[in-house]
């Protein structure tokens, strides 16, 4: 399970060197498919990249602030700043390559 972001509070993400935020919603089918893939990746990148879940209904301000137009959407954060977004469901290998491309 990913750490849930609550009350539009992104402080914990901002404290991470590298973080991936999964913008999702309970009614979004592709988001559900993405969940086990992200759980796997969170385990594989433990200690390197932190993974967070962000429900766009619960966190409407953040969704607006980070320009979320379509979900699922992953935001890659370095030291609290969003560097890139990956939009739509992506296969595990493709997300892993996307993360690798942003490390160091």
């Amino acid at each position: 399970m990913l750490k849930e972001i609550l009350n539009d509070n992104l402080d914990e993400v901002k404290g991470c060197e590298y973080a991936v935020v999964d913008f999702n919603a309970t009614w979004c089918g592709p988001c559900k498919m993405m969940a086990p893939v992200l759980d796997d990746l969170a385990n594989e990148y433990a200690g390197k990249v932190e993974f967070f879940g962000c429900d766009v209904d619960e966190n409407q301000y953040l969704a607006q602030e980070y320009g979320i137009m379509s979900i699922p959407c992953l935001g890659f954060f370095k030291n609290g700043e969003q560097l890139d977004q990956s939009i739509g469901f992506k296969p595990k290998q493709v997300i892993a390559a996307w993360i690798e491309g942003h490390l160091n």
Partner: protein, 290 residues
Amino acid sequence: MGRYDIAVIGTGPAGLSAAITGTVRNKKVLLLGSKDLSLKVTKAHKIANYLGLPNAGGEELSAAFQKHIDEMGIEITEDKINAIYGMGDYYVLQGGENVMYEATSVILATGVVAGKPFPGEEENLGRGVSYCATCDAALYRGKNAVVIAYAPKEEPEADFLAEMADHVYYIPMYKEEPQLSEKIEIVRKKPVSMERDGSKMKLVTDDGEILTDGIFILREAISPKQLVPGLVTDGPHVAVDLQMKTNLPGCFACGDIAGTPYQYIKAAGQGNVAALSAVSYLDELKRRSK
């Protein structure tokens, strides 16, 4: 239902040939498509160049295909696949009415879809262009949106969107009079192209422009990119190598969807190659897990 070794999507010559070779090689094959096989086969008048069946008619070729799969005990699961998700070492296939199938490898043999995307459509996908109103509706609270719909069955999606959005323009790409909630404004214009304009999207039509927060395009045909998120394409086709491998491990493509020429025997031949590549992939996975 369990996990299949190979899921084949499409019942034209490419898919049937792939299913036959997969079965010959003792793999657990799921064949998805239509009990009528392929309209591109049955509708052909005279086929001069299919090996072994000189000047066969389309119906005749189709009957020969049917006999072949029957004799091998291959059954067709009649379903339309809407999305294929790469989960890592397996795939989840989403059928109609949200039936889910699981397979270790996937062979795409869906033929080519007519109809090109609008200029500016693919570049802005997820950034103001969406194919699923029910998925993204909630992100349009207090905003306005344009829906371009190709069939009356999309009307409930527009109604759902209108419950969230401030204003919805609806462009029917069909003749029937749409039955929609009163909040929706029906626009009889022809979309030409779309582009980003600051934080908005600009839809260019044959009769002026519409500035909007987002454009929803609801059409029946599924492009390969939409079918398999993350797949690398080459124009309307899936990019493959000579082994029919795509960029995704365990996902193969064959027949018309893999590129020109569009020919029966080439489709059947590529189906054979794709199945053998899937078999090697499965064997390799097994070796590695030992």
